[in-house]
């Protein structure tokens, strides 16, 4: 681990220790929260007992679907908009103003159309994740240095090979930003729809525990959810960092 990673870990552990002390000394009443040590114990208990195994499986599968569709769909959308001037002129303004629209408002309508199952949740998550991926794909393709394309032509690289051997690698730093955002937004989309209305899933169980004053289960699930999100993000960050190091060191 780098010096900065140790510092980040120190900040998290330090905040946990301070919270624990505030609980033990009665500064924070237990009615509001439970101490970090109990949150961790609850998280471990949930993992060991397999109590919410089905919910985790449900949410993680939804997240995986949403990430796959957001990344693939966002990339293809971005590529199409970049490549076809008519699409570019027509759709680009929509994309840039899309961030002002909260996709979650369409959830009730989607439940009416598809029923209370995973499909509306995945659609909402994809609506969250697809657009940042598309915008970053377009940005990445716009910023390819023209001389790289000239090198391709000077080497008689075919149009298809140019996409895979020059344009995609050249746009990779931007594509990676898009993937990172698509992953984060897919997690947010899935968990937030489960939170609002769902028959299963981590978000649904957190909401259920909250409604039933079951702080222990609720915080245990929150800790596990944070761990999953952090793991996903750290993995992407690691690979992104490795790639950028080659470009800039």
């Amino acid at each position: 681990m780098t010096r900065y990673a140790w510092m980040r870990l120190g900040i998290v552990v330090g905040a946990g220790v301070i919270l624990e002390i505030l609980f033990r000394t009665g500064v924070i009443p237990r009615l509001i929260m439970i101490p970090p040590s109990e949150m961790l114990a609850s998280a471990w208990q949930i993992l060991a007992s397999g109590e919410f195994k089905g919910d985790f499986y449900f949410s993680l599968l939804n997240i995986a679907f949403a990430i796959g569709l957001s990344v693939a769909g966002g990339f293809l959308t971005g590529l199409a908009i970049y490549s076809v001037p008519l699409l570019r002129a027509t759709l680009e303004p929509f994309l840039t103003s899309y961030s002002a629209v909260p996709p979650i408002v369409f959830y009730p309508m989607l439940i009416v159309i598809f029923g209370l199952n995973r499909i509306p949740q995945i659609i909402i998550a994809v609506m969250f994740g697809l657009v940042p991926m598309a915008i970053n794909t377009i940005n990445g393709l716009y910023r390819i240095r023209p001389v790289f394309l000239k090198v391709g032509r000077a080497h008689r690289v075919s149009a298809l090979a140019s996409v895979f051997r020059i344009q995609l690698p050249a746009a990779a730093p931007y594509l990676f930003v898009g993937v990172t955002l698509a992953v984060s937004y897919s997690v947010i989309g899935v968990i937030s729809t489960e939170f609002i209305l769902s028959a299963s899933g981590i978000g649904h169980q957190i909401s259920f525990a909250y409604d039933n004053y079951d702080n222990r289960a609720m915080y245990g699930l929150v800790v596990l959810l944070l761990a999953i999100a952090t793991l996903l993000n750290s993995t992407l960050r690691y690979y992104s960092h490795r790639m950028l190091q080659r470009w800039t060191r």
Partner: protein, 267 residues
């Protein structure tokens, strides 16, 4: 005759009601097999445009270009290699992979790719940096990677568009020596675009001076240098004579180019 340019012009259509821009020509030029020819001229005279037309990266408005007897139009012919002014090494590939890029693209047998890439990397003095990424190299070394990437394809005509423009004077002289060595050992025909009169005078068998825009060839000066030459030729008295002659031809043209810039700025 290795390449022939006849009556080539390039006119860019005017934008938003502006008249068309006559960028180049007409130009006639014969390029002899195995010679080293440089083109010098004032900024904006169309030197790089001419190179792109000769390479097949752009199409002339009028005129014909032939390489080894075949017409060049809109596609880079087999046997022609191009090195660009900007650093064009791919930052996502190692030095070795950058150099092997063209061979892998052409589907050359892996053993042959390795043999030729190892040779080109070694020839350009990059063996110790084969596994490095371009970002870890100096500007001069990155340009050597680009030259090696072209060299590995064993081109018979190498077109260089101010490849040393971003380098300091000492590195340019040394890179010039490398280029002369490459030229002698490969037997390729080289056309070098440069704005540096001394570089053109030192490296070339013939130097073509180009007018201000629209670029036309004003005069072609044979240098008379032996093939076995290097940067020490700058000590020869004839080097000064050639450089002075080039400046005499180009001084008025450079003034015109500056004057045009000034009038544009004041407009």
């Amino acid at each position: 005759m290795h390449a022939r340019v006849e009556g080539v012009t390039r006119i860019y259509p005017g934008r938003s009601g502006q008249p068309p821009v006559n960028a180049l020509g007409p130009i006639d030029l014969d390029l002899y097999k195995g010679e080293f020819l440089s083109i010098v001229g004032p900024s904006g005279c169309g030197k790089s445009t001419f190179l792109e037309l000769l390479a097949g990266l752009a199409e002339p408005t009028a005129g014909t270009i032939e390489f080894e007897g075949r017409a060049v139009r809109g596609q880079v012919p087999e046997g022609v290699g191009v090195v660009f002014q900007e650093d064009s090494s791919f930052p996502w590939l190692t030095v070795w992979d950058n150099v092997a890029f063209g061979l892998e693209n052409e589907g050359v047998d892996p053993a042959e790719t390795k043999r030729r890439t190892d040779f080109a990397v070694g020839f350009m003095g990059l063996t110790d940096f084969a596994k490095s990424y371009p970002a870890q190299l100096s500007g001069g070394m990155r340009q050597r990677v680009c030259i090696a990437r072209t060299l590995v394809l064993q081109p018979r005509l190498i077109l260089l568009d101010e490849p040393f423009a971003a380098l300091d004077q000492q590195t340019r002289l040394l890179m010039g020596d490398e280029l002369l060595r490459l030229w002698r050992e490969t037997g390729a025909t080289i056309l070098l675009i440069t704005h540096a009169l001394d570089e053109a005078a030192m490296l070339s068998d013939r130097v073509a001076a180009m007018s201000a825009r629209p670029g036309r060839l004003l005069e072609i000066i044979p240098t008379g240098w032996p093939a076995e030459r290097d940067s020490r030729i700058v000590e020869d008295a004839r080097f000064g004579t050639i450089t002075a002659r080039l400046w005499t031809i180009l001084r008025d043209e450079s003034m015109k180019a500056i004057g045009r810039t000034e009038s544009r700025e004041s407009a």
